[in-house]
Amino acid sequence: MTTSIDLSQVTLRELNKRLHETDEGRFVVRNPRGAHALAVGITTPVTVDVEGSVGYFCAGMNMTGTVRVDGNAGTGLAENIMSGLVRITGNATMSAGATGHGGLVVIEGNAGARCGISMKGVDIVVGGNVGHMSAFMAQAGNLVVLGDADHDLGDSIYEAEVFVRGKVASLGSDCVEKEMTPQHLDTLSRLLEAAALPAGTMSAGTMSAEPGDFRLYGSARELYNFHVDDVDAAAAAKGKP
């Protein structure tokens, strides 16, 4: 069943409340007019199709839901996503997919700075470029970038993996290029497939790319532990006070 909701008639509170009270079905949201906190806290397998651009934190903490935006998104798209799918046709501002624990975020356009910051298991596929400090402190999950990555990619990264097809302006602290293994190629193929839309639908084929054209970046793991010297022990070994 599809329910149509016009945000020029209904408040954000009413919309989110309905989404929280429903177990299933599809909602079409018209006139979002850049609303913040739209479709946040969904914990059921509902589908929300938003016709137009959204503000901050759209689909925040999404769990099992599907939220699709035909437009652009403000800061913190799908922040802390747990599972399910969030997909937008346009560009996303800063911190898209921040701290996401699971699920898939697809951005057909570009993503701004700090895309995938502190990600904890989410997969993010970006059709265009990502801004500086993307995958900052990223802990787990995969960030796939079909375009270029701006400066300081993967700064202080933990165990997340970053695949970039285009140029990388610079890598951040402790982020290095790594060898692509067959498992990595599998992961990448799976994600590109999951992110691609079937032929004949809106922006079909936008995510098609050859896994072999990507490079892989990840942690050198040199910042994992503090370095502690022990001169006293060395002195004792030399028989010195």
């Binding site: 989110n16 946040v40 624990h101």
Partner: protein, 438 residues
């Protein structure tokens, strides 16, 4: 060596502790990381006294007349405001920094006393939720373990901007404490020296915070209050901005505030004392016309009912305890002196919360050590301690003629030092002089 000779006297600038620290730094090449809070002498609530009753002020009868202590947070905005029997709460301390047994003890003690406890940088555990009637869920930059189900299980949400021990620093948990369970809750490899983010990943500045608070309220369907916690750095401005962002309560944590693990240089040299911070936050609340409506929770070095009463008299609505609560449940117990000595310290001095080898079983993830703490007995000790603080608070409030502790006011106070008079903006004892007020 004969100490009583001029040429053998100890240097004030380079005393034995300073020399030891220089030697430690030279040996290891790493700054000192430790727990506890600032250890040096600072202006505190001890520098204030209550005036008590006199010809013009009537006291209340000590044991008979009512002196209420209750507090409601988030009324009018949240569907389920937080209702506390006493204005003394337990501060956020993470599972990870503390053992599951310690978290349970805090929950039991707080619940018995009718107050709240708080999660920390590491998510919510079932033990903690189960044993805390009122549980505040921290929303930190790291977002370890953050999820919508726990968010909806919380009785309040505390957005942590900073902590008094380290305004501007993120959480730290050393490798010894990152065991399998802790690593999994935080999605990190076991055994790493974890340094969490110091900035929130998806908002910067007060305008973003306003939208973040709306998002959190929407996720929990406006059920519970939202607090904002800041380290005491610029409390006047931070309080103004937190009010504007829509917080129901502001937690201001002074530089004495405890920590599980922070650089010593950060603990001792960043932030301002609680005594100096509270009046600045109150000034912001009053100027914006929301004093006693948006609640102020003061933290950092609160030890006694006198500290609680003075913080409230200066305009706070409640206080929050970290270190004192840990001591109440058994930290630094003299009975463990020998074991503390084996670790190169002694009961009463031990500050190595980061090390994970706490003989009291509180700041550890070692199952054998943690099992030494009996959560039920430790919870009773905490409940008793909270009761004593409450009785002391009421004693002071009655002495000043107040039927509710929130009626305490700066006029009930005098300062013993010029510094305290200037910071607290109450007259120097025996004068009408408030430095800075002409």
């Amino acid at each position: 060596m004969n100490q009583q000779q001029w040429h053998h006297r100890e240097s004030y600038t380079f005393d034995r502790n300073v020399i030891a620290e220089i030697r430690r730094a030279a040996n290891t090449g790493i700054y000192r990381i430790r727990g506890w809070g600032a250890k040096r002498e600072l202006p505190t609530f001890d520098d204030l006294v209550f005036l008590g009753a006199s010809m013009s002020r009537y006291p209340l009868e000590g044991y008979r007349e009512a002196c209420a202590t209750d507090l409601v947070i988030g009324e009018g905005r949240a569907e389920r405001p937080v209702r506390l029997a006493i204005p003394i709460t337990i501060a956020g301390m993470s599972f990870g920094s503390l053992s599951a047994q310690a978290k349970e003890a805090l929950g039991r003690g707080a619940t018995a006393a009718g107050t709240s406890t708080t999660t920390g940088d590491g998510g919510m555990t079932a033990e903690e939720r189960g044993h805390s009637e009122t549980l505040v869920y921290q929303y930190l930059p790291s977002r370890y373990g953050m999820n919508p189900d726990d968010l909806r299980r919380a009785d309040a949400i505390e957005v942590v901007v900073g902590q008094g021990a380290k305004p501007g620093g993120g959480g730290m948990l050393m490798g010894q404490k990152i065991n399998e369970r802790v690593a999994e809750m935080r999605t990190l490899p076991e055994g790493i020296d974890q340094r969490s983010a110091c900035r929130h990943p998806d908002w910067t500045g007060p305008d973003d915070l306003m939208i973040k608070i709306i998002e959190l309220r929407e996720i929990v369907d406006w059920q519970v209050p939202i607090y904002v916690k800041v380290g005491a750095a610029r409390p006047y401005y931070d309080t103004c901005l937190a009010i504007k962002a829509g917080a129901d309560a502001i937690v201001v944590d002074g530089m004495q505030g405890g920590t599980a693990a922070t650089q010593d240089v950060f603990i001792e040299h960043v932030g301002i004392p609680t005594l100096a911070a509270v009046p600045e936050s109150v000034r912001a609340l009053k100027e914006l016309g929301v004093h006693r409506e948006v609640k102020l929770i003061a933290a950092g070095g609160i030890r006694s009912g006198a500290d609680v009463a003075k913080a409230i008299a200066l305009g706070a609505d409640a206080v929050s305890l970290g270190t004192a609560a840990l001591i109440a449940i058994g930290d630094n117990d003299p009975a463990l002196d020998e074991q503390y000595r084996e670790l190169g310290s002694a009961a009463g001095f031990w500050e190595d919360f980061q090390a994970g080898n706490d003989p009291a079983g509180i700041t550890t993830q070692e199952p054998e050590l943690a099992s030494r703490l009996d959560p039920e007995l430790a919870g009773r000790r905490l409940a008793n301690y909270l009761q004593v603080l409450t009785l002391e608070l009421q004693t002071l409030a009655r002495a000043n003629g107040k039927s509710h502790v929130h009626n305490l006011e700066p006029e009930d106070l005098a300062a013993l030092t010029v510094e305290a008079a200037a910071m607290a903006r109450v007259p120097l004892a025996g004068t009408e002089w408030i430095p800075g007020d002409s």
